[in-house]
Subunit: 345 residues, 2 copies
């Protein structure tokens, strides 16, 4: 497999940033294996980002990717949020929890001026965005910091939009992908394409390099992605069982079970469609709930339930993010998995 020069890695493999299930350890291991490791930053404070980047640089001199979300923060909608919390009342009762505890939940911070200043200071080799791009002036700061800029597209229209704003490469995210879908120009899930259909159409539409993502679990999948015209492949789900990932116990167990064959797009955990293994909350409230508060405001309602249930070994309220192909999940060091994805022994 050829690796394009612009990627500056040994192998044409990118590790998908996965907020909530990994930190610098996974990124470092992937970099050491020859791929592009990624640090998901959307759930980290500025100080945490600084510390994680320091850890990465202490362990590898290879390029790495800092990933940010570019969503618009929704206006609070107390009525909608209260109605949403009310749907959880029976669950709180069942687990003996106080509904008033549902005030927090993991925050997702969009890229802003403060983070742009941090990027200028940290000068990461690569920065990637999900859910579109930040405002032009902020994007210009990232560019002037010397970072190559990647962003996710789920349709040809999104790819053209990103190219017009000057991204260096486009991650074409097919419907198979686990976790949050990057869609940002339309909320209509029918616009979302399978990877095999999306990648060649994006390749045909844009001049910048295209990175294929979604359903790629092994070297055959990477070969297929390159055959479709992609310059490299981004892989997430396959890394979830690696020791360097922070994937929780209930999540690991679900990934190793037959249940992993059945995933769905759901918005009940965060307010945005994301693919995970079907579980109780998805079945009972969704998987797509028309009344869910907008991302990330839906998160608070299930957070205390998730913590309590997980402490009992129950995954009923946990986002069990996974793509449609968990056949590549292996409990091996991420560096080894990276090399295997590239067809090396």
């Amino acid at each position: 497999m050829n690796t394009p020069d612009w990627l500056a890695t040994e192998l044409p493999i990118l590790q998908a940033p996965m907020a909530g299930v990994q930190g610098s350890a996974l990124a470092i291991a992937v970099c050491q294996g020859g791929g592009l490791g990624a640090l998901p930053c959307a759930m980290l404070s500025g100080e945490e980002i600084r510390e994680e980047v320091a850890r990465i640089r202490a362990q590898t001199d290879r390029p790495f990717n800092l990933n940010f979300f570019a969503h618009a923060v929704p206006a609070p909608d107390p009525e909608r949020e209260a109605a949403w919390r009310a749907r959880f009342a029976a669950y709180y009762e069942e687990f003996g929890l106080d509904p008033a505890s549902a005030t927090g939940g993991p925050a997702r911070r969009p890229f802003d001026a403060e983070i742009a200043a941090l990027v200028r200071a940290l000068r990461p080799p690569v920065v990637s965005f999900h859910f579109g791009l930040p405002a032009d002036d902020l994007l210009a700061e990232v560019r002037s910091a010397g970072a190559r800029i990647l962003a996710s597209a789920t349709t040809v229209a999104e790819a053209l939009w990103l190219e017009a704003r000057g991204v260096d490469a486009i991650i074409a995210q097919g419907i198979e992908a686990g976790g949050h879908r990057g869609l940002f120009l339309s909320e209509d899930l029918d616009t979302q394409l399978g990877t095999l259909a999306l990648v060649p159409q994006v390749v045909q539409a844009v001049r910048v390099p295209v990175i294929a993502a979604g359903g790629i679990a092994d070297a055959r999948g990477v070969h297929a992605a390159l055959a479709l015209g992609a310059a490299a492949a981004q892989v997430g789900t396959a890394y979830l069982l690696c020791p360097e990932a922070t994937t929780r116990a209930v999540h690991r167990a679900a990934l190793k079970s037959e249940r992993a064959r059945h995933t769905a797009l759901t918005n009940v955990f965060s307010g945005r469609p994301a693919r995970g293994i079907v579980n109780r909350l998805m079945t009972e409230l969704g998987p797509m709930a028309a009344d869910a508060p907008r991302f990330p405001l839906a998160t608070a309602a299930s957070a205390p339930l998730r913590a309590k249930a997980e402490s009992l070994g129950v995954d009923d309220f946990s986002p069990l993010w996974a793509g449609q192909n968990t056949s590549g999940c292996r409990e091996v060091p991420a560096a080894d998995l990276t090399r295997a994805l590239a067809g090396l022994a």
Copy 2:
């Protein structure tokens, strides 16, 4: 590209049978081009099947595929059907049609004893099934007639089910595919996988050869399918503009337009989920309507509207079947397209 011996064609390309938009002419052209041409039989009478097979044999001595549906015929549900027809009342008024004319619509006949006898008489080289398989005794008749048996799977569970019943090869139909989805063990559309995720998992699960289908539009797509472990690729949508297809004018126009980028799974035309270019009926009643009569009983309601609208050049009520990758649709002879799909000039 290598072609497996069992397929007995020159090229590893199968033309997807597409009821309603093609007959023997397309099958013949594909066979002459070196692929496996297919005749969709579900909307043909026994006599028509006989005539079409005679035409094929008069024009080519290469193998061909007779395709049948294996759905269970639903019990009539007059109340549900009347309620469904009532949803069309304003459309009938708009087009000056008598709602009482909605009594017919194209029939879809499942494989039965009479057709099995016909297959014994005709001895086609290949028979393929969609929506599962006919009863064991009927399947045994097809086998004893000497036909290789193919059938569609949309999940690993369906592939294992088909293999246990002795099919010779499995068509792994990914979510990108146009027209009717072959799903038969579950009606849950969340079980449906993208081709890039489905094919390698089916290949891993079964011992029989796997044919990849869904989103494959050109030689790159075929290469990708083979990289995933498929023995061959089945292509439908790309043939829809060929002169040998009987694709109607409104359908051809939609395929050539920007609208072709936006497809969805819909049951408003037939009662079963099928992928087509989004149009008025899909938008206003669906795309998935919980109250649609069971396949094929939903067809009658829109049939007169479709005929009238098409006569006016309007595609509001026409099933505009298409997969998620129409980039390969070309107005060239199907034999040429077949060779191009296999990477030949």
